[in-house]
């Protein structure tokens, strides 16, 4: 009984951590630019696929990972530079369409440059499951959890203790005021895309041993990451991770205890309920309406 529950919980935490990692990327970009980046899933794909193919070309894994993350960061920079900055008049929905275009383009490129097959990446520390009260957990899940905590800590430090990070925080709260204070918003937007592309690519490397990686892997992962970011309250990195865990655990518990056939329906109903009762997400800043 306990082992069953624990197994569902482990599954939910693993999947939730993956969603949270991806949701984090949404939050970082949203904070800086109020853009929902629908190409976030493609950063995840680039991280995984680039690592696979760099390794196939003979590079050692650590080097391949670093190059893949750097490559994704470059794509993120290009997207901000070409896609977002030059289209300032496009409005929020218009910018979303640009990121959708980017997502289609990147998937198309991946299919041509790499291939249409799915590939695994080797886990960081082996495949032998860890047994906890009769439930099992792959070491990779622990690595993902650890990475999540490390990234959280790093982001906390970045946002609270570096000039650029503080500037990003300020810009998120009031872009106009930040600009008046001499903060270069465009640089921050670029930086947020680079940061979130790198985070996405890192997530792609970490999750590939569990999810496999392929040209279209970003579609559903991106969607779930978006759900995580929304449930957590947009623009709140901590919230995105909590949101990811909520969605992941909801999915796992539904599949485990209710019905696996209707798992996704139940998960989305839960998401809808969270939104209805907490219209700004779990940790969203309440929108203040001053008349």
């Amino acid at each position: 009984m306990l082992s069953e529950f624990l197994q569902f919980l482990f599954s939910g935490l693993t999947v939730g951590a993956i969603y949270g990692l991806i949701g984090l990327g949404f939050a970082v970009i949203y904070n800086a630019s109020h853009v929902i980046n629908f190409a976030q899933g493609e950063f995840v794909m680039i991280g995984g696929m680039a690592t696979v193919f760099l390794m196939a070309a003979g590079l050692p894994m650590p080097l391949a990972v670093v190059l893949a993350i750097a490559g994704a960061a470059l794509v993120g920079w290009l997207l901000a530079r070409i896609g977002i900055e030059t289209a300032r008049g496009a409005g929020v929905v218009g910018l979303i369409i640009i990121t959708i275009g980017a997502s289609i383009l990147l998937r198309g490129l991946a299919q041509v440059v790499w291939d249409r097959n799915f590939h695994p990446l080797p886990p960081i520390s082996g495949d032998a499951p860890i047994h906890v009260f009769g439930a099992t957990l792959l070491p990779q899940s622990l690595w993902i959890g650890a990475a999540l905590i490390a990234i959280m800590a790093a982001l906390r430090f970045f946002f609270d203790h570096t000039r650029t990070g503080k500037a990003m925080q300020a810009a998120a709260i009031d872009p106009l005021a930040a600009q008046l204070m001499g903060i270069d918003i465009r640089r921050l937007v670029r930086l947020s895309f680079v940061l979130s592309a790198a985070l996405g690519a890192l997530a792609g490397v970490l999750v590939a041993p569990i999810t496999m990686t392929y040209a279209n892997v970003g579609v559903m992962l991106g969607l779930k990451g978006f759900a995580a970011a929304i449930v957590g309250g947009l623009g709140n990195p901590l919230g995105a991770i909590a949101g990811g865990l909520v969605v992941g655990i909801a999915e796992a518990m539904t599949a485990g205890y209710l019905s696996s056939a209707w798992k996704d329906v139940v998960a989305f109903v839960i998401i809808l309920f969270v939104l209805l009762f907490l219209p700004n997400g779990l940790f969203g800043r309440a929108e203040v309406h001053r008349a």
Binding site: E4, Q111, R116, N117, D127, L138, Y214, V217, M220, G256
Partner: protein, 393 residues
């Protein structure tokens, strides 16, 4: 002024509409009536999207062999021309592209429909256009009941389930847990598994599903594992989830016999599972284990030749799906040769009279009542051992 502005606005709209209309006209084909006019083979496949594991090798196979046939002088002294569109797994695209193939490209015959949905969506069209159509999709509804102009080459998914159940019965496994994915392939396989279970004295004691893009199936597998009396496990699905299921299976330390469907018949499954695939049994077209067939098996030579040609051309392990396309093309070419013309009705009749045709998927004997005509022998059970397929006797 406002009026002028509005007219300009409308004019801009018209310009765009006009460009669009022009573009439509531009795509009209220019056809020369030449004796050497190519035989036009139309095709729509799921080359991208979630079913690309089907369409990708299918298209590669068609391209490879059409180039070969043309190098050898073509058919009836005429070259073959492949006109292909990527319809993904989408019925709407399949319908539009089929209209395009039929009415604009004026193809002589259509090979395609990687998935059952895209195939079923265009049957009405090809029947009305009276054009031979060879589908590469699995479901038996495509040819049962028989439709005059519709044929198919892959074994039906019902046969795949029958093979699995026969194997289970042989091992005395009667209570099974079923897990299936969200795709059409998965649903059709699982549906057959439910329908046929009774006939084989098998009861499905756990029936679980997973969703699109799911990355962890341990909750479903835990439920199956903890179902009292479960003796075997069957997964119906394709693509990345096949490997994920196998990995989760190993993670949970499950030991009951593990079966998957022919959707897993790809080396990617074994590689992706990273050891988790060991011991998994599945039905595959004999093509995949051609080298293990006895030498007197007539299929061996054809299958080996195809495997060798494909793998050397594309640096990619052969899959059974490419084999379906190979057979469809060869049956079509054979029929055109026998008919001595590309007259659609005569080609159709010739396809229907295909007898003892040895293909990659097996030996075809079509008839007015059987538009598949495959024997069951060419569909075999294999087990994954040491990272490769091992033919089960």
């Amino acid at each position: 002024m406002a009026l002028l502005r509005s007219w300009l606005r409308k004019a801009a709209a018209a310009a765009v509409a006009g460009v669009a209309a022009l573009a439509l006209v531009q795509t009209a084909p220019v056809r020369a009536d030449d004796a050497k006019e190519p035989i036009r083979i139309g095709s729509f496949l799921a080359v991208t999207g979630p079913a690309s594991f089907l369409g990708d090798p299918e298209l590669k196979t068609l391209q490879l062999y059409i180039a070969r046939i043309n190098k050898e002088g073509g058919v009836l002294g005429r070259p073959l021309k492949l006109i292909h569109y990527d319809a993904q797994h989408l019925a709407k695209k399949a319908v539009t592209f089929t209209r395009r193939l039929l009415e604009q490209d004026k193809v002589d015959l259509i090979i395609g429909g990687s998935t059952t949905g895209t195939t079923m969506a265009v049957i009405k069209l090809v029947e009305r256009a009276q054009t031979p159509f060879i589908s590469l999709a699995g479901a038996s509804v495509i040819i049962d009941p028989v439709k005059k102009w519709v044929f198919k080459t892959p074994h039906t998914d019902r046969l795949a389930v029958r093979k699995i159940y026969t194997d289970m019965k042989k091992r005395g496994l009667t209570k099974i847990g079923l897990l299936s994915g969200p795709g059409g392939f998965d649903k059709s396989c699982a549906g057959n598994a439910r329908k046929l279970a009774g006939k084989y004295g098998i009861t499905i004691v756990a029936d679980e599903m997973h969703g699109k893009g799911d990355t962890d199936m341990t909750p479903q597998l835990t439920r199956i594992k903890n179902t009292p009396g479960v003796q075997a496990f069957l997964y119906c699905g394709f693509g990345a989830p096949t490997s994920i299921v196998a990995r989760n299976y190993k993670q949970l330390g499950m030991t009951i016999p593990h079966y998957q469907s022919h959707g897993s018949a790809s080396m990617k499954f074994i590689k992706g599972a990273q050891g988790g695939a060991e011991g998994v049994r599945l039905p595959v077209a004999a093509l995949l284990v051609a080298d293990q067939l006895p030498d007197d098996n007539p299929q061996k030579k054809v299958a080996l030749a195809y495997k060798q040609a494909y793998e050397s051309a594309y640096d990619d392990a052969v899959s059974t799906f490419g084999g379906h396309a190979y057979d469809a093309l060869m049956i079509a070419v054979d029929a055109i040769r026998r008919a001595g013309t590309t007259d659609k009705a005569k080609v159709r009749d010739a396809i229907e009279r295909t007898k003892n045709y040895i293909g990659a998927d097996g030996i075809y004997n079509m008839s007015p009542t059987d538009h598949l005509g495959l024997d069951e022998k060419s569909f075999v059970m294999v087990e994954v051992r040491d990272g490769t397929w091992k033919l089960l006797k």
